[in-house]
């Protein structure tokens, strides 16, 4: 009799244990594929997850590895799993797939280049964009050389509105953004570049394929005209442009953790956030060629310096 009681007690403990485990809420992190930046964002989330803040919640990670069939299986599992309270997606593939299928659970995306190109504008979709606000980028120039007052940029028609807004905002820090239209023909671009360099103190090099194709020419012309070029990526700084400010992915992870907290506590202020963490790079040789002498603290605050 005692033996049966003991077995019954054990079974009861196991049952309670299983019930407790299954009652755990789940937050899923779904990555499109292997990517070091996705790992940094995951670190940011995991390290920020305050044990006392969000209880009875576990984080599970999936890597779709670019496999569409596996992705569909994962999505089917998610739809059948009632414990999932929130999904974080990294990369365009995972974000788009999840956003199309999951309509009743909050989804937070990140690591998506130009997220506006995808169908991510839904009530249950939140996210952190992948692009540093241009104002922050251009502000670095001001930090390196307080005298800079006119910054030139090439704009496509669809970007006009965006740059006009930035122009108004940059006035607050004494910078005039001079917006040039891309010429109708690519063959006229070099002349436009020379014109821009003649009328501006600095140039903001955007991720436009026409400009990337003219990297060599822009680099040589900028060197000749002593024009500082601010790039969108540290690789271009390594190649010779003056400086860049790019996204700090760890901080995006921390921002995602903040958004999770806001959603779970019904305190969401907006759906799409801009990245708050920056990672700045500087080419020292270009700085010397330009004869710029930034204050000591500016050099101390730049994370990556190419000598």
């Amino acid at each position: 009799m005692v033996k049966y009681k003991f077995i019954g007690l054990i079974l009861l403990i196991i049952f309670i244990g299983i019930s407790t485990i299954s009652a755990n809420k789940e937050i899923l992190i779904i990555k499109s594929n292997d990517n070091i930046y996705f790992d940094r964002m995951t670190d940011g989330i995991n390290n920020s997850f305050d044990k006392s803040g969000i209880s009875n919640t576990i984080i599970k990670e999936y890597n779709l590895l670019g496999d569409i069939k596996y992705a569909m299986d994962v999505l089917n599992d998610i739809q059948a799993n009632t414990n999932v309270i929130l999904i974080v997606t990294f990369g365009a593939r995972a974000s788009e797939l999840v956003a199309n299928r999951i309509l009743n659970i909050p989804v937070i995306f990140a690591g998506v280049l130009n997220y506006q190109r995808y169908d991510l504008n839904k009530d249950n979709i939140y996210g952190v964009s992948n692009e540093i606000d241009m104002k922050i980028n251009v502000s670095l120039l001001k930090m390196l050389n307080a005298e800079i007052s006119k910054v030139g940029v090439f704009s496509r028609d669809f970007e006009k509105k965006y740059y006009e807004e930035k122009k108004a905002e940059l006035k607050n820090i004494g910078l005039d953004l001079i917006i040039y239209d891309f010429p109708d023909r690519t063959s006229r671009l070099r002349k436009s570049i020379r014109d821009l360099f003649n009328s501006c103190d600095a140039f903001y090099f955007t991720s436009d394929i026409s400009l990337l194709n003219e990297f060599e020419y822009i680099y040589r012309q900028a060197d000749k005209s002593k024009i500082p070029v601010l790039a969108f990526s540290s690789e271009l700084v390594k190649a010779g442009f003056l400086a860049s400010v790019s996204v700090d992915y760890y901080t995006i992870g921390v921002q995602i953790y903040n958004i999770i907290n806001q959603i779970l506590n019904n305190r969401v202020e907006k759906n799409i956030h801009t990245p708050l963490g920056t990672f700045s790079s500087l080419n020292m040789q270009t700085l010397n060629n330009l004869e710029l002498t930034p204050p000591d603290y500016a050099l101390r605050m730049i994370e990556e310096i190419f000598e």
Binding site: N47, K135, I173, V254, N258, E304
Partner: protein, 272 residues
């Protein structure tokens, strides 16, 4: 010939073992520092170590949780961390094991360029903001993170003297003050908490990032970072050498360059 090879091999082995035995490590984390260019810090630090013909591995971290996780895997010999994180970690270890590898008697702390051993955290808002006192502030506030205990740091060290309703505040954690300043300048947050060391340096240069802001709160004094021993089994010579290197840093040109980079005048030995 054979014996020569054996002797040479033995010498190489002895040299290798020696180099392993006498290389030691310092983990570094300080979100309130004026320096985020860790390559520069490591280079200047190595230049200084060369004076002593020592090869010390200064490993820098951008967040304290990663530092402590890593410390659990490869125990560093020393840590240079914020005072708050030192106290927390020490108490955590004491509570868990009744013993702490963070030794109170082997602690160094710097004197800042200001002559003090402390700094303050200040709360900034834009000049155009309607917030004039700290009690008005609500919504998003930017702050550098001190790990998962960040809110405790803020409550204990920054707002200990004011009765703030934290339910009305959403902290936006960043890893350096320059990101905080960008976030404020471009209206991503309502207010920011920054180190007065960073603010004063920018203010002295009339930098555009602090031209349109106002200080609405100043914390009480916060102790500066500490260098603490973390490895119980360290060779006593290494311990003595490390102390000597820090305490004599102000006596050489290379040491002064390192101190200048860190924003300090000299190091002191203290007991906590």
């Amino acid at each position: 010939m054979k014996s020569k090879i054996i002797i040479i091999t033995l010498i190489i082995l002895i040299l290798l073992v020696n180099s392993v035995l006498f290389t030691w490590s310092i983990y570094y984390y300080n979100p309130d520092s004026n320096i985020t260019n860790y390559n520069l810090l490591t280079r200047i630090f190595n230049d200084y170590c060369r004076l002593y013909e020592e090869d010390i591995n200064l490993q820098t971290f951008i967040n304290i949780d990663t530092l402590f996780n890593q410390a659990g895997i490869e125990q560093p010999d020393f840590m240079l961390i914020p005072y708050f994180n030192y106290v927390l970690k020490k108490n955590e270890l004491l509570a868990a094991t009744g013993n702490s590898t963070l030794k109170s008697s082997n602690v160094l702390t710097p004197i800042l360029k200001s002559g003090k051993q402390t700094y303050k955290k200040i709360v900034l808002v834009l000049n155009t903001s309607s917030y004039n006192v700290i009690l008005d502030v609500a919504g998003n506030i930017g702050s550098v993170s001190y790990g998962i205990e960040s809110q405790n740091f803020i409550k204990e060290y920054i707002f200990s003297e004011v009765d703030i309703n934290f339910d009305n505040i959403n902290f936006v954690w960043v890893r350096k003050d320059i990101d905080n300043l960008y976030a404020l300048m471009f209206n991503q947050v309502n207010a920011i908490i920054v180190s007065d060391k960073v603010y004063n340096e920018l203010k002295d240069d009339n930098n555009f990032l602090v031209q349109n802001v106002k200080v609405i709160y100043e914390s009480a004094d916060i102790p500066e970072v500490v260098v603490t021993l973390t490895n119980d089994e360290i060779d006593s010579k290494i311990l003595a050498k490390t102390k000597e290197m820090f305490l004599n840093m102000h006596l050489t040109k290379e040491g002064q360059e390192l101190l200048n980079l860190l924003g300090y005048k000299k190091w002191l030995s203290i007991s906590l």
